[in-house]
């Protein structure tokens, strides 16, 4: 099944002053291309850690992640290549490089993998236009933009290298409800129209309406249900 992202028995424990904290505890999860998977849970439940484990920003203590036929937890897995071409991140606080323009932020991931500059600019402009960031706004510095604009630029950046997986960490957390709805619609459209595997972690129940699969996470443990029916 090469359209399936499968997480099996994934665990991650952090050592802190007060002792060990298990952020992710033997988590099993499935997500498919073309579907939106929502992981719901309160702050500190471990959902962001799970997202970072899937995106290879953290390494698990145990378990496996099979990303469309490739086990990224095996020794020797090319995590840089995985991060560059298979995964796109969308963060709650956008994490744009503020000194760069919107266009430059979107060009950056392509620049890192060696896409020719002209081609990268063309694709970046196309992605930004698709996200509703046109003309003058593309040349604006990221720190001069509104929250909604920043998040749309962040989504465009996540799509720059056409990854299979979009990992969105509280994408509406810093946005008003109307703007948040626009951003969620964009993410849903990416799953539906572009066959992306979209995983959203949030504590906002309102996003559940857009979910094909929903999981609830608490104290590092995951419980889930198929909502597509």
């Amino acid at each position: 099944m090469h359209d399936l992202l499968e997480v099996k028995g994934l665990s991650k424990t952090f050592r802190v002053k007060s002792g060990d904290v298990t952020a992710v505890d033997k988590v099993n999860l499935r997500a498919r291309k073309g579907e939106v998977t929502v992981i719901l849970g309160p702050s500190g439940s471990g959902k962001t850690t799970l997202l970072y484990l899937i995106g290879s920003l953290e390494s698990p203590d145990a378990g496996e992640i099979d990303a469309f036929g490739e086990n990224i937890c095996r020794a020797g897995a090319d995590l840089i290549e995985y991060r560059r071409k298979r995964v796109g991140f969308v963060f709650q606080s956008f994490n744009l490089i503020t000194a760069l323009t919107a266009l430059e932020n979107v060009v950056l991931p392509m620049d890192l993998v060696g896409v020719p500059t002209a081609q990268a600019h063309e694709r970046a402009m196309e992605l930004l236009a698709r996200m509703g960031i046109d003309g003058r706004l593309q040349k604006a510095k990221a720190n001069k933009m509104s929250g909604g604009e920043k998040q749309r630029v962040a989504i465009a950046r996540a799509l720059a290298n056409n990854p299979d997986i979009i990992l969105a960490d509280e994408p509406t957390g810093n946005l008003d409800s109307a703007t948040g709805k626009v951003v969620v619609d964009i993410l849903v459209n990416l799953a539906r129209n572009d066959s992306k595997c979209v995983i959203i972690v949030t504590h906002d129940d309102g996003i559940l309406d857009a979910a094909d699969w929903a999981y609830r996470m608490e104290d590092g443990k995951l419980e889930g249900a198929d909502l597509s029916a």
Binding site: T48, F91, N95, L112, G114
Partner: protein, 507 residues
């Protein structure tokens, strides 16, 4: 290449921040490079001085020994001395003649030291010439005789001349120094010395006054001999002019009086024969590799040659120290200044990069999260650091060209005033007797020229000439690389240790 472009763009995107860092670095680097320029100039000048001063020594009878002999003779009454002279054997007379001379085998043995690169031996003596008169001296003596003070000094005679013998005419110190210049004929050679060829160089005025020219012969009396074997015919092979005497003439209004005119130059073996002291010389003259060998040669001399305190090894180490001490002090001071300023540069770049990176941690996390390798991020930051340092170094090198000479002059002024104070203190502690001894020229070295030549200008401390050298440019590049590498330590450590998940989780 893309990382380089990103780094350069990033450098251009933060002009104010970079300007502050560049300004701080520029100030410290200007000081560092100026100190470096001064140090290089001072070291170069010391090396230059080493090539010409401090590498000379001569073996001769010590002044202490001479004084002891004089004291002994003074302790005898005139009648005792006359009686002793009358009863002297031939051996004793020979010993008397050579008591202030050095055996040639001794000077030859010393010349075999590996540090010696040039060797000459010199004998200076007074010779009576039967067909040459010092006309000017004769006039002067006759005027004194006619004057109220009666007769002139007995030692002065218009037919007695100083003869200086060495192994090669061209290497006689007066000719090397340019005090005297050959204007006609040629120098006697080493071959003339070996074959005892009776040839001689004569002063131009003296030759003209006695109507002598090239190829003419003069008759010299051999000391301590009588009869037909007591004369030697010397052929004139060269005529020289006394440059220094002409200069004295112009400055002192002494008309044509030329005290140096009486000196004749001849092969050493000929002068030895005229002096009746074969195998003996006044001094052995040596040039060795450099001043650093002085100690070794001195030690060898004291253990193998000195023969108690009879002989001494006189060197121009004091001249070297007089000239080089201020330069060496400047070199040391500038080294300390250089080290301090470079330390400040290091501190500035480390702090600046710490602050810069600290403010861009999230950017680093984002770069790593979107797939930048550590190498790509490092390259980007390296370019930023190099750009900052490069601008600062270029500006500093420009300013160095303007201020380094002033810095050098200031440091040299400080060193000279310290040295002068030290010398004055030393002079006071030595007392007037020694000071007068110095003026009398008793310690004058053969390489400094004849008895009438002025003291060498090399004794004066030099001015520091800070020229903008190519090596300074190379050192500038090295400093640029050094501070850039140092500046890279901070980002490298951050980049390697940075966990993007942690950084991106921070709100």
């Amino acid at each position: 290449m893309r990382s380089v472009k990103r780094g350069f763009k990033s450098f251009r995107r933060h002009p104010l921040r970079n300007l502050i860092v560049i300004l701080l670095l520029f100030v410290c680097l200007s000081f560092s490079l100026s100190m470096l320029a001064v140090k290089l100039a001072a070291d170069n000048q010391v090396e230059e001085v080493k090539r010409s001063v401090g590498n000379y020594a001569e073996v001769k009878v010590s002044s202490d020994y001479r004084m002891a002999v004089f004291e002994e003779e003074r302790s005898q009454r005139e009648s005792e001395r006359a009686a002793r002279a009358r009863t002297m054997t031939a051996e004793e007379l020979a010993e008397q003649r050579t008591r202030f001379l050095v055996p040639e085998e001794l000077t030859d043995a010393f010349s075999r030291q590996s540090e010696i690169i040039a060797y000459d031996k010199v004998l200076e003596t007074t010779v009576n010439l039967s067909n040459v008169k010092n006309v000017q001296l004769e006039t002067m003596l006759s005027m004194r005789q006619r004057g109220p003070q009666g007769e002139g000094p007995a030692a002065l005679s218009s037919s007695s001349f100083t003869f200086e013998g060495n192994t090669n005419g061209a290497s006689a110190s007066d000719f090397l120094l340019g005090n005297k210049v050959l204007v006609e004929g040629s120098f006697y050679t080493y071959d003339d010395y070996l074959k005892k060829n009776p040839v001689v160089l004569i002063e131009k005025t003296l030759a003209e006054e006695n109507e002598l020219g090239m190829g003419d012969t003069i008759t010299a009396a051999i000391s301590g001999k009588s009869g037909s074997s007591a004369k030697m015919q010397l052929k004139i092979v060269g005529i020289y002019e006394t440059v220094q005497a002409e200069q004295q003439e112009g400055g002192s209004n002494t008309e044509t009086f030329n005290p140096m005119g009486e000196v004749f130059y001849a092969p050493l073996s000929v002068v030895q024969e005229l002096n009746n002291t074969p195998g003996y010389v006044s001094l052995g003259s040596y040039y060795f590799d450099n001043v650093d060998s002085t100690g070794k040669l001195q030690q060898y001399f004291e253990t193998e040659v000195a023969d108690g305190d009879k002989y001494e090894l006189a060197t121009d180490l004091a001249d070297f120290e007089t000239i080089s001490d201020p330069l060496q002090k400047v070199s040391k001071t500038s080294t300390i200044g250089l080290a301090g300023a470079l330390g400040a540069c290091a501190l500035i770049i480390l702090l600046a990069m710490g602050i810069i990176i600290g403010g861009r941690t999230r950017e680093l996390g984002v770069l790593k999260a979107i797939g930048a390798t550590d190498r790509q991020v490092m390259a980007q930051y390296a370019v930023e650091v190099v750009c900052i340092c490069l601008v600062a170094v270029i500006l500093a090198m420009g300013v160095t060209a303007l201020i380094s000479q002033s810095m050098g002059d200031w440091l040299m002024g400080e060193s000279k005033s310290t040295a002068t104070a030290g010398e004055e203190q030393q002079a006071q502690s030595q007392g007037p007797g020694q000071f007068m001894g110095g003026l009398a020229g008793g310690d004058k070295l053969y390489k400094e020229g004849g008895r009438f030549s002025v003291a060498s200008i090399e004794r004066q401390p030099l001015d520091l000439n800070v020229v903008y050298q190519g090596s300074l440019f190379l050192y500038g590049i090295l400093i640029l690389l050094g501070i850039s590498l140092l500046g890279m330590i901070v980002p490298v450590v951050w980049i390697v240790r940075l966990r993007p998940a942690r950084v991106l989780s921070m709100e």
